[in-house]
């Protein structure tokens, strides 16, 4: 799939993101603001337990009801947004922080360095993602920080591969050749000319990776390997809700909906940004 797209999709021009893109941007912004708001205000203390009020339905006091310890579900959803988003952003940031330089290096040097980076990628791809994450958290113990490391780990090869691919096409451009002739070193060219030109590609990939990281964090927490109490995350809420499926299905529905809406928003935004910033990038569902 290295051929440029034959232009099958109608591509929005200029600054316009299209309906989907704006919807996605609005969702992402809304979730981010909810997470930020939860730092200073939630309707109730998300950790406050009241055994007498457990498993209540929605009421004026608890708009989305309470969980098995009588904690307010709305407050926990808000606090959960914070953890889910923080874990995903930091994990993807770390993955990009290692993967992008690796990709740049591979593209700039070629030769054995390139070969080594690509073989490392093959190795990383040989382990199914969730399996790696389960092993890493089993090794380090459950917790948000270890979940971040596990998710960052499988983001490295993704960013390395995308960066290398994009950078290679930039290196073929005439202005790079000119810079080479002007006597500038490969590291300088990578930073000054290659990186700015592949920024759009990386932002697009980053958006998609954050969406995937939210799903990954939820999966890990659901298995009991991610956030641990008293941290709240959407995946943890699902983990706790499972045994109450018969008694109070609402507890399992709400955090799941929050995940779906957030991931949907990020994907819509990512798709729109791709069309806008980098029409050459094609969907790569395998890049996780």
């Amino acid at each position: 799939m290295s051929e440029p797209a034959a232009g099958p999709a109608t591509r929005p021009s200029g600054w316009r993101l299209g309906v989907g893109g704006w919807l996605g941007a609005a969702i992402a912004l809304g979730v981010a603001m909810t997470a930020a708001l939860s730092l200073v205000w939630t309707p109730h203390d998300p950790a406050a337990m009241t055994m007498a009020d457990r498993l209540q339905g929605p009421s004026a006091l608890h708009p989305l009801g309470t969980d098995h310890f009588g904690r307010d579900t709305l407050s926990r959803l808000m606090a959960g947004a914070r953890v889910s988003i923080a874990v995903s952003l930091v994990a993807v940031g770390l993955g990009a922080g290692v993967g992008v330089p690796l990709g740049l290096l591979a593209a700039a040097r070629r030769g054995w360095i390139d070969e080594a980076v690509m073989r490392f990628n093959d190795l990383a791809f040989a382990f199914p993602v969730l399996l790696t994450a389960v092993l890493v958290t089993a090794l380090l113990g459950p917790g948000a920080v270890n979940a971040i490391l596990a998710i960052a780990l499988f983001n490295i090869p993704v960013f390395a591969r995308v960066t290398r691919g994009a950078a290679l096409s930039i290196w073929k451009r005439p202005f790079i050749q000119a810079a080479r002739l002007a006597g500038r070193g490969r590291p300088r060219i990578s930073l000054d000319h290659v990186l700015p030109n592949i920024g759009g590609t990386l932002i697009v990939q980053g958006t998609i990776q954050v969406a995937l990281a939210i799903l990954a964090e939820a999966s890990l927490s659901y298995l009991g390997l991610g956030s641990r109490p008293p941290e709240v995350s959407w995946g943890r809420m699902l983990n706790e809700a499972q045994t109450f499926l018969f008694l109070s299905p609402r507890l399992a529905l709400l955090p799941g909906l929050a995940i779906v809406v957030t991931v949907l928003g990020l994907n819509l935004l990512g798709d729109a940004l791709r069309d806008r910033l980098d029409p050459r990038l094609r969907p790569r569902p395998g890049d996780t």
Binding site: A126, A211, S219, Q242, V261, P285
Partner: protein, 321 residues
């Protein structure tokens, strides 16, 4: 083409070797003494030492690594630390659950995604297209384990049509066994189908824009005939790539889905074995999964060669015109 495949085969072997080394080292540093887990809190030190010796845990690490890899190559795998049976004997019945589950899921995903993707491409921009793309966008965003919970809620708790989990065994008959696999397979398949439908659509759209399709139409073939005779084969190349990648997703997905549905499969075995520090089972399983992923990717490469005449004839530039 032979040269290409040979190179891929060598890379596969090297990757597996590196994988075995990584897994071994990682498990070496995992905290948890399997002997203590087996004998529990009442055990005395001399009893523990006796058990460790009988399990070969007192040997140096390199000797255990060589023993292990040697055992893998010759088929003489060690006994599971917790179940105390040879790993192949343990894996057999588990594969009989996970294998059919993954196949059923893949079949469901392809059966749903290909027609929908082609349909969306054929009706590009119209209501059908918009609906398919909208639903698939939603499908990509749904965590498979949550979908599993929803399916349980609807079909097991609400309607009581299907079991909420567990596996009666194939000896209970095809009906009950399949009934137990349908919900987990759906939970695995639907998010994958959403991805596959999107890729199918864009692959078909791309093919529709190619010169040879216009040529085919000019030769008097109908739209559908042209798509069928020339388009699909070329669209298959990206699709096969995605399906290969999805296979490894399905394998990983079994870890979580088999936990949701308490199916006695490979994924749950892996999850349990990690918790129980059954290092023998964990490392064999990880290498087995890595090998499966590697082999599937290798087969994907082979199928490229078969699908793409340029690769098949070992020379570039001869298009299918």
């Amino acid at each position: 083409m032979a040269w290409f495949l040979a190179r891929r085969a060598v890379a596969l072997v090297l990757t597996l070797w590196a994988a075995s080394l990584v897994v071994f080292v990682v498990l070496e540093v995992l905290p948890g003494d399997p002997a203590l887990l087996i004998l529990g809190v009442g055990a005395r030190e001399d009893t523990l030492a006796a058990l460790r010796e009988s399990m070969g845990l007192d040997q140096p690490a390199w000797a255990r690594y060589l023993n292990w890899v040697g055992g893998l190559l010759t088929g003489h795998m060690a006994n599971s630390l917790t179940y105390d049976v040879p790993v192949p004997a343990l894996l057999g019945p588990r594969l009989a659950v996970s294998g059919p589950l993954a196949l059923l899921a893949l079949t469901l995903a392809v059966a749903l995604a290909l027609p929908l993707g082609v349909l969306a491409a054929a009706r590009r921009g119209r209501a059908t297209d918009v609906t398919v793309m909208g639903v698939s966008q939603l499908g990509v965003a749904v965590p498979n384990f949550w979908l599993g919970l929803l399916l349980v809620l609807v079909f097991a708790v609400g309607l009581r049509w299907l079991p909420s989990g567990g596996f009666p065994g194939w000896e209970a008959g095809l009906g009950p066994a399949l009934a137990a696999l349908i919900l987990p397979a759906l939970a695995l398949a639907l998010p994958q189908a959403a991805i596959l439908a999107r890729v199918t659509r864009s692959a078909v759209l791309e093919v529709l824009g190619e010169d040879y399709m216009r040529t085919a139409r000019a030769k008097g073939l109908s739209h559908a005939e042209a798509l069928w005779h020339h388009g699909l084969r070329n669209a298959m190349i990206p699709l096969v790539t995605i399906m290969g990648l999805q296979f490894s997703f399905l394998l990983a997905g079994t870890i979580i889905i088999e936990t949701v549905f308490t199916l006695p499969g490979i994924g749950r075995l892996m999850f349990q074995a990690i918790g129980q520090r059954d290092l023998v089972v964990v490392r064999d399983l990880v290498v087995l999964l890595a090998a499966t992923v590697g082999v599937v990717n290798f087969l994907v490469d082979v199928s490229y060669a078969l699908l793409d005449p340029r690769l098949r004839h070992g020379r570039a530039g001869v298009a299918d015109e």
